[in-house]
Symmetry: C2
Subunit: 181 residues, 2 copies
DNA sequence: CCGACTTGTGTACGGCGTACACTAACCGTA
DNA sequence: TACGGTTAGTGTACGCCGTACACAAGTCGG
C-alpha cells in the first residue's frame, strides 16, 4: 500500500498560493505583494505560507519560474525565422505578462529551469538554420537580450518588436557562415 | 545683493546624499540601501534626508538619473558604427555600473532627462548614417533594447556584447533605405 | 535685538518579513 | 478504543522599514 494517503485536504498548496500571488501582483502591482496581504487574500494567517515556501524570495522565484516555464515551445515546422519569432514573442509575453509588473524581477527569470529549456528551443532553431554551436550560443544570447530589453524600452508594440527582431535576424543570418565571399 | 548668502553650511546636500547612497548600494547591494542605513552612513538622523528628497522613491530616481546623465557623449567624428558602439557601450556601463546592482531599477532609468539626451545622441548618429526620422526612431529603440537587455542576459562580456550589436547594426544598415533593388 | 527661515533632531505609527511556540485534526498501530 | 506521531494552520513577538509631525538650534535681514 502507498505510504502516503492522508485524507485531510490541506486547503493551501504551492499552486494555490502562486495563483493568488500572481493575481495580487497583476491587480495591484508587485509592490502590493506582501506575505501578509497574500495570506489575507487566501484567508489564512501569514505564517501558513511558510509551510510551502522558505521565504518570500523563494515564492518570488517560483512565481517567475512558473511564468518562464509557460513559454510555449513553437512547433518545429516551418522556416526558422518564423519559429524564432514565435519563440521570442512568447518569451517576451510570458515575462512581461503574467509576472506582470514584475519587470523588476527579470534577472531572476533567467536563472530558472524554464529559461534553460527556452535556450534549448532557441538553440535548436538556430542549429536548424545552419549555425554552428559557438555561433548559435552567441546568437541566442543576442536574441534573448533584445527580447528582454524590449520589455524595458517599451515602444509601440508588436510591429516595432518585430522590426528590431528582424533586423537582428538579418544580421545574424548574414554572418552565419564565416564569409560567402 | 543676491538674495541668497546664507553662511551656515548645510553639511548635507543632494550630491553628498547620492554619493553615499551609490557607495552603499555598490558595497552591500541595493537591498541594503534604506533611508535609515543611509542616514547612519552620513551620521545624521533619518528624517534629515527628507529635506533633500521627497521620499525614497525620489532619491532612487535621482540616483539612476545621475547615472544615466553620466553616459558620455561620443565625439561626432569617425564612422557612425564606431560612434554608435561607443554610445551604447557607455550606456550599458553606466546603467550596470554605478547604479551597480541596481539592475532592478532599469525601467526607471529610461524615463530620465539623461535618457532623452541619450536618445538625441543616438538619433543624431543614425541621421548621419542616412536613416530617415521614422526609421531612426525604430532603430534607436531596437538598439537600446539590445543594450539594456544585455545587462540582464549577461554573457561573457564586451566581445559578446559587440557581436550582437554588430549583427543588429548589420541588419539595420541593410534596411536603411526601402530597397536598393 | 528680533522675527523668519533653514537645518537637523526626536518621537511615533503602521506595515513589513519571519522566528518560534503552539493547537487541532488526522493517521497507522496496538 | 486508546495513543504517539505527523501535519496544517494559529498566534505572538521582534526588529527593520518608510515617513508624518512637532520641535530646537543656529543664522539671516531689518
Amino acid at each position: 500500500m502507498p505510504p502516503r494517503a492522508d485524507k485531510r485536504e490541506p486547503g493551501l498548496s504551492r499552486e494555490r498560493i502562486l495563483d493568488a500571488a500572481a493575481a495580487l501582483a497583476a491587480d495591484e502591482g508587485l509592490g502590493a505583494l506582501s506575505m501578509r496581504r497574500l495570506a489575507q487574500a487566501l484567508d489564512v494567517w501569514p505564517m501558513a505560507l511558510y509551510r510551502y515556501f522558505d521565504d518570500k524570495d523563494a515564492l518570488l522565484d517560483a512565481l517567475v519560474a512558473r511564468a518562464t516555464a509557460e513559454v510555449a515551445s513553437p512547433s518545429s515546422a516551418g522556416p526558422w525565422r518564423g519559429r524564432m519569432h514565435a519563440l521570442l514573442r512568447s518569451t517576451r509575453d510570458a515575462l512581461g505578462g503574467e509576472t506582470a509588473t514584475l519587470g523588476a524581477e527579470l534577472p531572476r527569470a533567467l536563472l530558472t529551469p524554464g529559461a534553460a529549456r527556452l535556450a534549448g528551443d532557441g538553440l535548436a532553431i538556430l542549429a536548424d538554420a545552419g549555425f554552428d554551436d559557438a555561433e548559435a550560443q552567441r546568437a541566442w544570447r543576442a536574441l534573448l537580450a533584445y527580447a528582454v530589453g524590449s520589455l524595458a524600452v517599451g515602444g509601440s508594440g508588436e510591429p516595432e518588436f518585430d522590426y528590431g527582431l528582424d533586423r537582428l535576424l538579418d544580421g545574424l543570418e548574414g554572418a552565419r557562415r564565416p564569409a560567402s565571399a
